[in-house]
Every structure is written in C-alpha cells, then in structure tokens.
C-alpha cells in the first residue's frame, strides 16, 4: 500500500547555459507514494513559489510516457531507477521514507543545459532533418495496400519506430553516442520497402550529421538499450552498421 514519506531532493540548479551549476537540497514532507515523480517536483515547485524562490525548470508535457519531453537523471539513471519508463511514469513508491533523491539534467555534450534540468535536444532534430524521412511529397502515392509487407517485418519496423526521441540513450552512454536513436530510425525505414530505396544515403547522412554535432562513438556497451524507456533493441545498431558499411562499399 502507498504511504506518505518524507524525502530530501538534491537538485541540479543552473541559472543559464553559461552559469556555474550546483546541487541544492530541499526537504519535502508528507509526499504520497502514489504521486508521480513529476508531481513530486510540482509539489516542490509550489513550495518554492510560496517561499518566493525560483522554481525548478524542467521539461515535461504529456505525462503519459509518450512525448519524450521529460528528461531527468534520477539517482544516476536516465528516467530513474525503473526499467522501460519515462520520468513521468516513475512513481514515488520507488523511494523510501527518509531517502535523499539526486536529480540531474541529461548529461551529454551534445545536449547543453538551458536552465536547471532543461536541456537543448535540438541536435536530434538536426539528425532527423539530415535524412530521417522517406522523400515523398503529399499526394500522388500508391494505394496503401499496393505493396504487401510481411507481418514480422512490419512488426520489427514498428518496434524500431517506437523511439520517442527523449535522449536517454545519449545521456546514458559513457561516450555520449546517439547511435541507438539514429539506428532506430535508419532501421525502421530500411526495413520497409518504402524507405529501402534511400536506405544507403540515409544511413550516411544521419551518421555524418551525428558525428558533426558532437556525439561520441559507439563502443557497444549497451547502456543505451538498458535505459531506453521504449526498450528499443541494440540489434538496431547492428542493422545501422550494416547499412552504413554497405553504403560505404557502394561509394
């Protein structure tokens, strides 16, 4: 049964991109364990506002685990100490009475801090703009059933497509690599006949953009897949490497 707990929250505070950051510890009393982690931050912020202090800035939106907006490092894990969830799906029942909880922004060179826990993930959009699409215009496309796709292939593409672009993979990676993110999109589109035509060019363009934006290299440690809220598989990285190598050989 959910209880009420008293906790301490140790939060990374940073006034702006260039400001020196530091940890600040706040006490919160009587927090219901049925509350989500973000609701706990809301309670903290109401408390700070009541004290005329600056509330903690953080990204959040849908609060149902799908928009990919929330981005907190909780007790050393992206999205906190539970598997296959986003921070908004983390509940206070995962924490004990008297516990000190450490909250940090995504830690990655390619995601600079904007303020407190809010980071700039524009690099992921830029990678997508480099090639994360099928080049079709609106209209003039064939009937949706014109090209049958084997169910296992469609299902595999769907699993790869389930990436929500939250950035946990790059944040979790000791190299700050965005390989899982890139691999998920390259895989999804390479698996489907609609995306296969541009598969080689896409893999090259997205990898080049990833390198250019300051993401690290992949050394297959697998932290990305372990921390991914949507359980995107490491197998996608193998597929990306295959697509990328094939493209290079074609050059």
């Amino acid at each position: 049964m959910d209880q009420y707990i008293d906790i301490k929250v140790r939060v990374w505070r940073q006034a702006g991109p260039k400001a020196q950051g530091h940890f600040e510890t706040y006490e919160l009393k009587h927090v219901f364990q049925g509350a989500s982690f973000l609701e706990m931050i809301d309670i903290l912020n109401e408390q700070l506002v009541a004290e005329h202090k600056d509330p903690v800035t953080y990204d959040h939106d849908c609060r149902e685990g799908i928009c990919g907006m929330c981005s907190m490092y909780v007790n050393g894990h992206p999205h906190g100490p539970d598997s296959a969830i986003t921070t908004c799906q983390l509940h206070m029942r995962k924490f004990k009475d008297g516990e000190t909880i450490t909250v940090e922004p995504w830690r990655s060179r390619a995601f600079p801090v904007i303020k407190d826990l809010m980071v700039d993930r524009g690099a992921y959009d830029k990678i997508m703009q480099a090639g994360g699409f099928v080049s079709v215009n609106t209209g003039g496309v064939p009937d949706a059933n014109a090209i049958p796709i084997p169910k296992p292939v469609a299902d595999e593409a769907m699993d790869a497509a389930s990436c929500i672009g939250c950035g946990a993979c790059a944040a979790a990676c000791k190299n700050g690599s965005a390989m899982l993110f890139v691999a998920a999109k390259v895989s999804q589109l390479a698996l489907l006949p609609q995306g296969k035509i541009e598969a080689a060019a896409r893999a090259k363009a997205m990898v080049a953009k990833m390198d250019e934006l300051g993401f690290g290299n992949c050394t297959n440690t697998g932290a990305c897949a372990a921390e991914c809220p949507k359980s995107v598989s490491l197998a996608n990285i193998a597929r990306l490497n295959r697509e990328f190598l094939c493209a290079k050989f074609q050059d």
Binding site: F32, G68, G122, M158
Partner: protein, 680 residues
C-alpha cells in the same frame, strides 16, 4: 490592432469570415484565414446569421461539393508561391502536415511550437487508431457510411459538406502515411490490418501498436524535417504565439499578416510577418485543470483570434472520455487515458448491492471478491445492441449516473470497474496480454495493482474539445481526431489556402516595424507587465485548480441552467482573484514557466466562462453537452432540433462584455436526423 469601437466591430465581422476558430483538434482548414468576399454580405445582413454562401459551402450534390470546389478554385503558380510566406502555428498532426505540405508546394513556411521539438505535440498521445473508409475488410464500409456514422455520432450538429469531405479524403491519409513509412499493423498476408472502434459497426480503424498518434505524427514530423532540411520551413521551437497581427489590405479589409510570439528561453517578444497565418494549436481541455491533455496544451491562440473577431463556435461541446485512470489525490497534475479499445474485450460493471459498494469504498474487499450474480454490467443492461461499445458520451454519463447513486468502487466513490476476467477465460491470458499488454502495464505502473488479477478501475475525464467548425459536431467518435488533423493539413488546407492567396501574389513582404506590429507587441508587453506587477499570494496552479473544480462541478458532464449561472458567477470571481492575487516569481525577460502558465490561465478563465455561456444558451442535450433538464425518461440526451439545429458562434464584444451569439443554421439537406439509439 483596431482602437476605435467601430473598427473593432468591423474587424470582427470581417475577420469572423477569415479565421474560424480552430481550437479543438487544431484542424487547420478553419483557420482558413480565407474568405473575404462573403464578409460584404455579412455586413449587409441585419440578423446575425451565417448563410451557406458565407460559410463558403460549395454548390452541388453532397458527394461532388469538394470535387467541384477543387475544380473551380483559384491556384497560385509555382513562381508566385515562392514569393508568399505562411506562418503555421502548431506542430501537431494538423500543423505539421500543413507546414510540410505547404513547403513542398513551394510556399515559405514559418512554423512555431511551444515544445523543444516539433515531434512532441499531444497528437502523439492518441493510442487507438485512425479511421478511413477503405473497406479493406469487405464489411460494407464506404465513404458514405463513414460520413453517416460521423454525422450521427456528432448528434447532427456538424456541417454535412465538411463531414463528407473528411470521409472522402480519409483514404488518402492512409496511403500517404504508408508511403512515409508509418508502420501500421499488418496481417500475415502482408496487407493492412483493421479493428473496430468505439461507436462503429465496421472495422475501419488502422493502428500502429498502441502508438498510432505517435507514429502518424512522426510521419508528419519526418515530412516536416525534410522541408526544414531543405530550408523551405523555418522552424521556431520553444516559441509561444501571444497575438495575431491584422493589417488592412488595399480594400480596407483586415487580413492576418503576422504574429507576436515569445521566445520561451530568452523571454524576448518577437514579431513575425507572413502573407497568411494558419493556426493549428490544439484543444483547451486544460480549462478543467485535470484532463487527458498534455500540460502545455492551451486555448490561448484560439482566444487571440477570438478577440480579433474570429467567431468561437460551439465552445460548450467538450468530450468526456470514459476510460481514464481515476483521480487519486489533490497533488494530481493530469488524468491518464487508456485506449478505448479496452472496451472491445473489457466489461464495465459496478456492484448491484449498495453495501458491496460501501465495502469497496472502505477498502475492505476487492472487485474480484464480488460474485458474478452481484455485478451490474450496466452498459450491457441498458444498451443491449452496443453494450460496452456505446459512444464515449453515453458510456461516461452512465458511469457518472452509477457513481452519483453511490455505486462507485474506489475510495473516492468515483470509479467503475473494467473487467477482463471473462476475456482472459475466453481468449487466454496470452492473447489478452498481446492485445492490451502495454495498457495493462501502464495501469499497473500508475495504480500499483495487477489488472490481470483484479478488475481495472476507470472514470470519465475531460478529453477533447470539439468547439469550432469541427467536423465532429457535438461529439467525436473514436479514431476520428487523427483523421481530421491529417485530412486538413495534408488534403484540405493545401487547396483552400491557394484560393485565399491567389489575389495576394502582388503583395510584397511587409516590415514588422509597421504600427500594427508595434501596437500588438505593446499590448502583449502591457499584459505581461500587469501580470508581473500583481505580486499577490496565490500560485498560478492553485487558482487553476480552483477553476478546474468549478468547471467540473458546474460546466461538466451534467449541466443545469441553475448550475451554469452559479458557475459563471464563480468563474467571474476567479477572474478577479487571478488578476489581483496571483504571484509570479522571477522576471519576464528570462525563461519563466510560471509566467507562461499565468498567460495561459488568463485565457482558460475566459474560455471557461464562454463554455458556460454557450452551455446555458443551448437548451438541449447533444453529444458532449448534456443538460439535465433535457433528457428522456431513460436518461438519454434529448436534442431540440427545431430550436438548436445550428452552430452557436460567439463574437467578442470587448473585455468584460457579454459575447454576441451568431447562428449558422444546420439544414440537413442530405441526411435524415434520427435519435441516436444504441439499444437495438
């Protein structure tokens, strides 16, 4: 911005024709900043009524109206498109698909969103699916049948021509999405799979796991990303529109020529020009504080247009979704929706005996402890033909009715059971897990209870606001929101905007130093300064929660004249409290979430009032609007077709002035109106 009263009036009449307030599902077509010629007719009209010509409904038989429009509309040639700029506000299904399509056609697009990326709009949260009239399942579906179901589902409060067009283009959407690489579910033969969805007797819903909205938006986002990469779309993330800028053309008619937006990171207020402004900004369900909407979803863009003369149509139609996870505490920030597809196999019930309900509420027993003969499957009992699959409004009211009578099953008494034990027996746990596993997992994470062993608890929550010239009428059917967002963005706006811009090809880009821009910016700045200066005692959220409770109690699922009048008084009091006692920390020239929330709340208060005013005037029950005075002896909605078969459009008459009602009659030429009957 107009300063004199006459100017405001005139601007109102004209802009009303130009900008149809599109709040609910952000359908872009209404933001058709379109339509000027009809404004003249409107000026001459003595009674405030919108005629089909003014509404620009094309001539001809129903199935040829859209075709006729396309065949005879004006076009803009490719060289001229390059000279025209279009602002698109919003990056949901409607905004993203519109921005991408317009850029592909050659227009220069400026696209704005409040999130950090155009991939995050709340369209992503739709789980269930998207409808189309493909008839791939050979179960008798057709464009007409999708049209008819939508009109009927909307309780005959939508335009026939609009709904037919929606059904007509639905098939194009599926083709388009598949071509983009959207991984729809497939059958073993490799063809697309369909399922049936709330309120439909055919299987016409396409889906992608429990992530249909996410996958469709990623499709639109990928098309948009391609155009951003090509430089045809300039993307502004973390920007919030704070006003629309109207400038008179050479005929003296005011046209939307830009927006004032706040950079949410720097706090800087900026001006943007375009030849046309398209708004696809989402719904305003968060007026209720607790809703299934995302935290940032708001109605401010709609209110900005309303204040400049766009008519706010049918604000009272608000859809309540029956399958949400019940509220569990005062700290709660939002309500989580679970896909309505659960109702395909789950059975909804409450105890037959009040004493069992009391023991459930006290936590002494659990749902599984109550024997079969003591369970009241009230939807199956009341609606034998549709059972647990009745439309959302019917299912929601039935749940409220049982809870009001004391049969609620959780500690607050505000929940009913959704039980899969019969489905698990019939299909096996594995099959149930395959179909609904992700939803069961989500439920367990939130509630900390295993739905395979004990029935789920659900309760209705505010979900979707149909207001505007939406094609959903008074009520939206499941899997139709995704359809409309993409229909308008991909296949309607790209046509209608050409018609609107065809006589604008000679208009040069305008300077944002024009007085209209300066005045609009100043008004925005003044409003912000006023808010920051209050320095009261209440946080934004505390006032918003109070508004939400008033909305739920007085403007919620069961409305009465008396309650609505009371609600309006209470909303007026909240407005006063907000403008005298809100406290916003920090400064306006930096990132300031509390200021953002305060600006949105200021508009939610106005929207809440407008919803109540509309609900009070509409003396009938239909779809997402239920007046307790107007129900059948069995408690079903009782429409008053002779009096209220019209779109209730509200015209802004000034701060703290009562809005004026303008009617657009809904003459059903092609469809016979019937009472919705889900019993037999």
């Amino acid at each position: 911005m107009a300063t004199k009263k006459e100017d405001i009036k005139e601007a109102a009449v004209k802009a009303a024709k130009k900008v149809a307030v599109k709040a609910a599902k952000a359908a872009v077509e209404a933001a058709e900043v379109v339509v000027e010629k009809a404004a003249k007719a409107m000026k001459e009209a003595a009674t405030p009524v919108i005629t089909p010509e003014m509404a620009k409904i094309p001539e001809g038989p129903l199935e040829l109206k859209w075709t006729n429009y396309k065949n005879h509309q004006k076009l803009v040639n490719p060289a001229n498109k390059r000279r025209l700029d279009v602002i698109v506000v919003g990056t949901g299904l409607a905004g993203a698909s519109a921005a991408a399509s317009l850029a592909e056609m050659g227009f220069n697009v400026l696209n704005f969103c409040i999130q950090d990326s155009p991939r995050r709009a709340h369209s992503i949260a739709a789980q269930g699916g998207i409808n189309a009239a493909k008839n791939y399942q050979n179960d008798g579906d057709s464009v007409y049948r999708l049209y008819y179901d939508t009109i009927k589902g909307g309780d005959y409060r939508a335009r026939e021509a609009n709904v037919y067009r929606l059904a007509e283009v639905s098939n194009n959407i599926i083709d388009q999405c598949v071509a983009q690489g959207v991984p729809f579910a497939r059958e073993y033969g490799g063809l697309l799979d369909n399922r049936s969805f709330g309120g439909a007797q055919v299987s016409r819903t396409f889906y992608a796991k429990g992530q249909t909205g996410q996958q469709l938006l990623l499709g639109a986002y990928s098309a948009l990303s391609r155009q951003i990469g090509k430089g045809k779309v300039k993307m502004y993330t973390r920007y919030e529109m704070l006003d629309i800028v109207l400038i008179p053309d050479e005929n003296g008619e005011k046209r939307a020529r830009g927006i004032i937006a706040r950079n949410l990171v720097t706090g800087r207020i900026e001006r943007f020009f375009a030849h046309a402004v398209v708004v696809g900004s989402g719904g305003y369900g968060n007026t209720f504080f607790l809703s299934t909407n995302a935290m940032a979803s708001n109605g401010s863009a709609a209110m900005q247009m309303y204040r400049h003369g766009a008519l706010f149509a049918n604000p009272c139609y608000a859809q309540i979704h029956p399958t949400c996870i019940p509220k569990h505490g005062d700290f709660q920030s939002k309500l989580t929706l679970m896909s309505e597809s659960l109702r395909n196999d789950g059975r909804i019930w409450v105890p037959k005996k009040l004493e069992d309900a009391k023991r459930l509420q006290a936590g002494e027993i659990k749902g599984r402890d109550i024997p079969e003969e003591d369970r009241d499957y009230y939807l199956e009992r009341r609606y034998p033909a549709f059972g647990n699959l009745v439309p959302r409004d019917v299912a929601s009211r039935a749940a409220k009715e049982r809870c009001d009578k004391g049969y609620g099953v959780n500690n607050t008494g505000l929940a009913v059971f959704l039980d899969f034990s019969e489905a698990i027996q019939r299909l096996g746990k594995d099959v149930v897990a395959q179909k609904y596993g992700n939803l069961f997992q989500m439920y367990e994470k939130i509630v900390d209870e295993n739905p395979y062993e004990n029935p789920m608890m659900i309760f209705p929550a505010i979900h979707y606001t149909m207001a505007n010239f939406s094609d959903h009428g008074a009520n939206r059917l499941g899997a139709s929101a995704l359809m409309q967002g993409l229909a308008d963005g991909y296949f309607v706006l790209p046509y209608t905007i050409q018609n609107y811009l065809s006589d604008q090809i000679g208009v040069p880009r305008m300077s944002t130093d024009l007085p209209e821009f300066a005045e609009a910016e100043k008004a925005v700045q003044d409003k912000i300064d006023k808010l920051m200066a209050i320095q009261g005692k209440r946080s934004v959220d505390s006032i918003h929660k109070e508004l939400g409770l008033i909305m739920w109690d007085f403007v919620g699922m069961g409305r009465t004249a008396e309650g609505l009048k009371e609600g309006i008084k209470k909303i007026d009091a909240i407005k006063k409290e907000f403008w005298t006692n809100v406290y916003i920390p920090g400064t306006a020239d930096h990132l300031n979430n509390e200021l953002e929330k305060a600006l949105r709340l200021a508009d939610f208060i106005e929207i809440g009032r407008l919803m109540a005013v509309d609900a009070l005037h509409r003396e009938e029950s239909c779809g997402g609007h239920f007046r307790e005075e107007y129900q059948t002896p069995e408690g079903e909605a009782l429409r008053q077709d002779d009096k209220f078969s019209y779109v209730g459009c509200w015209k802004y008459m000034g701060e703290d002035q009562e809005p004026q009602l303008i009617k657009e009659p809904l003459d059903y030429e092609f469809t016979e109106r019937k009472t919705r009957n889900y019993k037999s």
